[in-house]
Homo-oligomer: 194 residues x 2
DNA sequence: CTTCATACGGAACATTCATTCCGTTATTCT
DNA sequence: AGAATAACGGAATGAATGTTCCGTATGAAG
């Protein structure tokens, strides 16, 4: 019936995600998108609607690519401590690899948009809580096995760990030294063990 | 010789600080500034230069108003634990009072601008480190008094505490429940005591 | 091979952006 | 009181914003 798209929709969505992730919503212009995605204006708007819709799809893409695996792994991990440590290591590795620190797309969006954009706030909130739930499952398992402290409910410890992860995503933006990372991770993990 | 300003320069700078703090740099337009500051365009540009210069001055204003006191208090506080707890309480109080969660102007600016704006990055970095140093002094005093753990260097614990504070400023943006706050603060403080 | 719906490139759109300019007003100093 | 200077209000600037529109190219279906 009709001409076929010459670009891969998911692949281009990936590029959009990375653009928004790196520069944020407001600082990424339609022109940036046209140049960054490598498709024309009309294809952009025909395929993804407007800029805001594209951003929302980018958020969902981020969840699929970057969150879902880590969340589902929490239920099956044999070693809760290693799992939680791996979450920190992941943040650290990403921070040290990148020349420009993108941080976390969810954290960036929460700070930039959540207070004024209900749609973004809802998505971010949902993803953040899913992630916290995952941490909570791992913490509970660790408590059951006796390797984590039972001085606090699993939920409290999960909130604590998740909060520290969010903090690192901020610290990365102005100080990505390896030493600071290790310090913070070590203290966090030892807090789980008392 | 000349006509006197009809507005108070510091007072208007305060309003600018609050605008940028609440909405960020990119989302605050020149029009928003004119309306929010209550002065005309020409007065705005004559007095503060351009938008970016005004933003930089707002950052410094924030430091003076919101950081310096807390930093200098760290050296003289008789009770380091109460001091650190008060830092958390301050974040909590601010979060619960505000209808819209502004979070921390420094954190917001770090996330929105630091990776691309060297001038902002330098200022934020300097303020953040001053604050961390303050926490470090309090931690060291607590260690000297034997109320905090000596398992980690004061610097490591300070980084940990400061990181948790940054995390809270993010968490605030999508979940400002009192319970989550208390959970996080309690675990953080108990981590200092082992 | 023709048909036809759709992808495409790029010009065009109104709006908003940050910034400048100018004529007027007001205040301080002589 | 008068001259000099700076603040002021508001219109005007050009560039950039997000979005739409249109003519052409393309490829699947009949």
């Amino acid at each position: 019936m009709a001409r076929t798209k010459v670009f891969d929709e998911q692949q281009v969505l990936d590029k959009a995600m990375n653009l928004f992730w790196q520069k944020g919503y407001n600082a990424t212009s339609a022109q940036d998108l046209v140049e960054g995605l490598g498709i024309s204006r009309s294809s952009l708007y025909d395929t993804y609607g407007d800029k805001h819709s594209l951003f929302i799809r980018a958020l969902h893409q981020y969840r699929r690519q970057r969150i879902d695996d880590a969340v589902s792994e929490a239920g099956t991990t044999p070693d809760p401590e290693a799992y939680i440590r791996s979450l920190f290591e992941f943040v650290k590795t990403e921070a040290l690899d990148e020349n420009h620190s993108r941080g976390c797309f969810m954290v960036n969006s929460a700070v930039e948009l959540a207070p004024f954009d209900r749609e973004v706030a809802t998505i971010v909130n949902s993803i953040m809580h899913d992630f916290e739930d995952a941490v909570c499952r791992a913490v509970r398992k660790g408590q059951d096995e006796g390797i984590f402290t039972a001085k606090y409910p699993a939920r409290s410890l999960a909130r604590f760990i998740f909060n520290s992860l969010c903090g690192l995503r901020v610290t990365v933006k102005f100080d990505a030294s390896k030493k600071a990372f290790d310090d913070i991770v070590n203290v966090c993990l030892s807090a789980l063990k008392n």
